[in-house]
C-alpha cells in the first residue's frame, strides 16, 4: 500500500508538471512553434541567387507549386523551398513563424484585414517588371507602393443548375421565393447554404454591404455604431431572403460543404451560394448531366456576381537583402516566363489578374467570373474590409442561432447581427 501511495504522489507531481507545461505552451506556445526547418538560410554558391522559402494558404495549389519550384530550379538553377500549406490555420502559423524571426521569404496574405495586419513586413515591389502588368486596381498597395501581386480573381454568387432554374425566374425576393417553393414542390431542394462560417453567412452577407454607395465607408460607420444593419434597406431585404431560405431549404447547420456540393452535383439541389472554386468539387462527379451557371444574389435588384482578389503574393521585407532579391527574381519568373504563366493558368487554375497572362481552358464558373470582370459587371468583396475574424467569431454564431431557432424572425436576426458586429468591431 505504501508503494501505491508513493506512486500516487509521483503521478500527481508529474501530472502537475504536465498541467504547468500545457498552460505555459498555451500562453506562449505560438512563439516557440516556428519550425527549425524554417530558417532555410544555408547559403548556396555565391554566383547564383540565394535559396528562398515560400509559404502560402491555398491547399489546392500546393502540389502544383512544388512542381513549379522544380521547373524553376531546372530553368534557372535557383532554389525555392515550398513549405506545406496549412489551410485554415495559415494566418496563425504565419504569425508564429514571422514572430520567431523564421518567416518565409515569400508568403501569401488575404486582401483586407489580414493584409493590413502584416503590412509592416512587406517589401516594395513597385520597381519590378511585373508590377506594370497587374490589372487595374488589383494590386495590393501600401501608400502608393505596390507591395503585393494578386493570385488571381475569384467570384461567388448563386451557382445554379441550368436544367432546374432559369435566371429569368430569379430576379427579386418574390421570384426567388417562388422558385424555392416550386422546386420544393417537385420533391427537390431549391437552395442550400452550408455550415462553414464563410459559406453560411460570410459570402451571402457580402451582397447588402457591396450594394451600399460606399461599402468601406459604411463598414467604418458600422464599426463606430453610427449606422445599424436593422435600419438599412438592403439589410432588411437580406433578412427576408434569409427567412425565405430558412422556410424553404434544409437547415444549413446540418449541411457540410461536401454535402452541399454533392447534392448540387447529383441534381438534388437547384442552387447553392458558392464561388468558382467549388467547380473543383463538381469535377469529381464527372459528367453532371446538366450545365452550371452563376448569377448574382437578386437582392435589391442586384444582378452582378461578387468578384475580388482573395490572396496576394508578398515578399518578406525583413528577410536579408539577398533573399529579397532572390524572391523578386522568382516572382518575376513566375509572372512573366512561359512556364510560370502556364502554371498559373493551367495548373493553379487561377483566373489571372495580370494583363500579360491570357486566361485559357477555364471551367464554366471561372469563365463567368472572367467575363464579368472584363465587362465590369461585378460587385466588390466588401467582406475583405470587415474587422478581422468577425465572420467566424461573431456573425457565424448569430446566424447559427437564427437557423436553430425556428421562431426567430429576420428582424430579430438583424438585431442580433448588429449586436454581434458591435462586439466584433471592438
Amino acid at each position: 500500500m505504501k508503494k501505491v501511495k508513493k506512486v500516487s504522489i509521483l503521478l500527481t507531481a508529474t501530472a502537475m508538471v504536465g498541467l504547468l507545461a500545457a498552460c505555459g505552451s498555451s500562453t506562449d506556445g505560438n512563439k516557440e512553434s516556428g519550425s527549425p526547418a524554417a530558417s532555410g538560410t544555408s547559403s548556396a554558391a555565391p554566383e547564383k541567387l540565394k535559396k528562398i522559402s515560400l509559404f502560402q494558404s491555398k491547399v489546392e495549389i500546393a502540389e502544383s507549386l512544388e512542381a513549379l519550384a522544380k521547373t524553376y530550379k531546372k530553368e534557372t538553377g535557383n532554389d525555392v523551398e515550398v513549405w506545406g500549406s496549412a489551410g485554415d490555420a495559415y494566418a496563425t502559423q504565419l504569425q508564429a513563424k514571422l514572430a520567431a524571426g523564421e518567416g518565409p521569404t515569400i508568403f501569401s496574405v488575404a486582401t483586407g484585414a489580414e493584409a493590413d495586419k502584416f503590412k509592416s513586413y512587406y517589401a516594395d515591389l513597385s520597381g519590378e517588371p511585373f508590377a506594370k502588368d497587374i490589372a487595374k486596381d488589383m494590386a495590393l498597395t501600401d501608400g502608393g507602393k505596390v507591395v503585393g501581386v494578386p493570385y488571381g480573381v475569384e467570384g461567388f454568387g448563386l451557382v445554379y443548375n441550368k436544367s432546374l432554374v432559369d435566371p429569368k425566374d430569379v430576379t427579386d425576393l418574390a421570384s426567388f421565393t417562388k422558385t424555392l417553393e416550386k422546386v420544393k414542390a417537385d420533391g427537390k431542394n431549391g437552395f442550400s447554404l452550408s455550415q462553414e462560417a464563410y459559406f453560411l453567412i460570410g459570402h451571402i452577407i457580402n451582397t447588402p454591404f457591396a450594394l451600399q454607395a460606399d461599402p468601406q465607408d459604411f463598414i467604418a460607420k458600422l464599426n463606430k455604431g453610427e449606422v445599424k444593419m436593422a435600419d438599412t434597406k438592403e439589410f432588411q431585404e437580406f433578412a427576408k431572403f434569409m427567412e425565405a431560405i430558412k422556410a424553404n431549404s434544409p437547415n444549413p447547420m446540418e449541411v457540410k460543404y461536401d454535402t452541399q456540393m454533392g447534392d448540387f452535383a447529383t441534381g438534388k439541389t437547384a442552387m447553392v451560394h458558392q464561388g468558382n472554386w467549388s467547380y473543383g468539387m463538381l469535377k469529381d462527379y464527372g459528367d453532371l448531366g446538366f450545365d452550371v451557371g452563376m448569377m448574382g444574389l437578386p437582392l435589391a435588384g442586384n444582378d452582378k456576381i461578387a468578384v475580388g482578389v482573395a490572396s496576394n503574393w508578398v515578399v518578406n521585407g525583413k528577410a536579408d537583402a539577398d533573399q529579397i532579391k532572390a524572391a523578386k527574381g522568382f516572382l518575376n519568373w513566375m509572372l512573366t516566363s512561359d512556364s510560370g504563366k502556364n502554371a498559373i493558368v493551367n495548373e493553379f487554375k487561377f483566373i489571372p489578374a495580370m494583363t500579360n497572362i491570357e486566361a485559357a481552358n477555364l471551367d464554366p464558373l471561372s469563365q463567368t467570373v472572367y467575363e464579368a470582370t472584363k465587362n465590369g459587371q461585378t460587385i466588390p468583396w466588401a467582406l475583405n474590409y470587415f474587422p478581422q475574424g468577425i465572420i467566424v467569431n461573431d456573425l457565424a454564431p448569430a446566424t447559427q442561432a437564427f437557423f436553430l431557432d425556428k421562431k426567430m424572425t429576420g428582424e430579430q436576426f438583424l438585431k442580433n447581427l448588429d449586436a454581434a458586429w458591435a462586439k466584433g468591431a471592438k
Binding site: 500500500m1 501530472a15 498541467l19 506556445g29 504569425q95 514572430a99 509592416s120 475574424g389 454564431p397 466584433g424
Partner: protein, 293 residues
C-alpha cells in the same frame, strides 16, 4: 563535508540539472513572459506597438460576457464529466477485477478509446452524432433522443461529455484496477468471514483503501476536463452559437480570432490560476482522506 556526500550531490545535480534547464526554458520563462504580455494591448505582430495598459486587460475580461459564459460551460462540462468518468471507470474496474472470463478482453476494449487522439476522436463522434444518430432516430422512431445532438446547444454540451467520458473512463479504470489489486485479499476475506456483504465490503474496505487512486483519477479528470481543447475543436468548434465554447477555446479565439494578444494572455493567466486553485484544493481534500492500514 565528506567526499561521499559531495559525490551524492554531484550525481543529484547531474540528473536534475538537464531537466531543470529544459523545464525553465520551455515552461518557466515563457510563462513569465506570458504574464508580462497580459499587461499590454497588442495584436501579436512584433513590428506593431505594445501599449502598456496595466490591469486593463484583467478589468476587461470581467466584463466579457462570452468569457464568463464559457466559464459556465466549462464548469458544467467538468462537473458532468468528472462524475461520469469516475463512476464508469470505477464500475469498469470492479467488473474486470471480478474474475470474469472476459475480463482481459473487456479491459483492453475499455482502454482502447484512450489510445485514439482527441482530434480524431472528435471527428469520429461528429459523424456518429450527425449521421448515425439521425439514422437511428429515423429507423426506430425515437427521434426525441436520436437526433443531431451537435445542433442543439444543451445536447452539444452533453455530446462533449459523452466523448470525453468515452475517452477517459478506460484510463481511470486502469488506475482503479491498480488500486484494487493493491488491496490485500486477506482483508476482504476476513470481512467476508465476519459476515459483511458486498456493499459493506465496498464501502468500508475497498473505497477507503482506494483513496490514493481517487486522488489521482479525480485530479486527472478535473484538470483534463478544465483544459479540454482538442475534442472541443474537432467535435463542435464551440458551436452552435458558442454554446459549447470552453475556456481554452475562448482564449484561442481571443488571441487568434480577434488578434487581442494581451487580453487573451490575461485570460490564460486567470485560467491557470483557476485550474491550479481548483485542482490543488481537490488534491488536498482527497489526500486527507487517504488511510493507511
Amino acid at each position: 563535508m565528506s567526499t561521499r556526500k559531495r559525490k551524492d550531490k554531484a550525481w543529484y545535480a547531474l540528473f536534475t540539472m538537464p531537466l531543470l534547464l529544459v523545464f525553465t526554458t520551455v515552461v518557466i520563462i515563457p510563462f513569465l513572459i506570458g504574464i508580462g504580455y497580459s499587461f499590454v494591448r497588442w495584436d501579436g505582430i512584433p513590428a506593431n506597438p505594445k501599449v502598456f495598459v496595466g490591469f486593463g486587460n484583467y478589468a476587461e475580461l470581467l466584463n466579457d460576457d462570452r468569457f464568463l459564459t464559457s466559464a459556465w460551460h466549462t464548469i458544467a462540462f467538468t462537473v458532468l464529466a468528472l462524475v461520469l468518468v469516475n463512476v464508469l471507470g470505477l464500475l469498469f474496474s470492479l467488473l474486470v477485477t471480478a474474475k470474469l472470463r472476459v475480463s482481459n478482453v473487456a479491459r483492453t476494449m475499455f482502454f482502447l478509446p484512450n489510445l485514439i487522439g482527441g482530434l480524431i476522436l472528435g471527428y469520429i463522434w461528429q459523424f456518429v452524432f450527425t449521421d448515425a444518430f439521425k439514422y437511428i432516430g429515423q429507423k426506430t422512431g425515437l427521434e426525441s433522443v436520436f437526433f443531431n445532438w451537435l445542433i442543439d446547444p444543451q445536447f452539444a454540451l452533453l455530446a462533449m461529455v459523452v466523448v470525453f467520458t468515452w475517452q477517459m473512463a478506460g484510463y481511470t479504470m486502469i488506475i482503479y484496477i491498480a488500486g484494487i489489486q493493491g488491496i490485500p485479499d486477506e482483508l476482504n476475506e476476513a470481512a467476508r468471514v465476519d459476515g459483511a456483504n458486498l456493499w459493506h465490503r465496498l464501502t468500508r474496505i475497498v473505497f477507503p483503501l482506494l483513496m490514493p487512486s481517487f486522488t489521482i483519477c479525480l485530479f486527472l479528470t478535473l484538470s483534463g476536463a478544465f483544459k479540454i481543447f482538442d475534442v472541443n475543436l474537432s467535435l463542435t468548434k464551440g458551436g452552435p452559437n458558442n454554446a459549447t465554447e470552453m475556456f481554452a477555446m475562448n482564449i484561442y479565439n481571443e488571441i487568434f480570432g480577434y488578434g487581442h494578444y494581451g487580453l487573451g494572455q490575461a485570460k490564460a493567466i486567470v485560467f491557470f490560476v483557476i485550474v491550479a486553485a481548483v485542482t490543488l484544493t481537490q488534491v488536498i481534500i482527497t489526500k486527507k482522506r487517504e488511510v493507511q492500514y
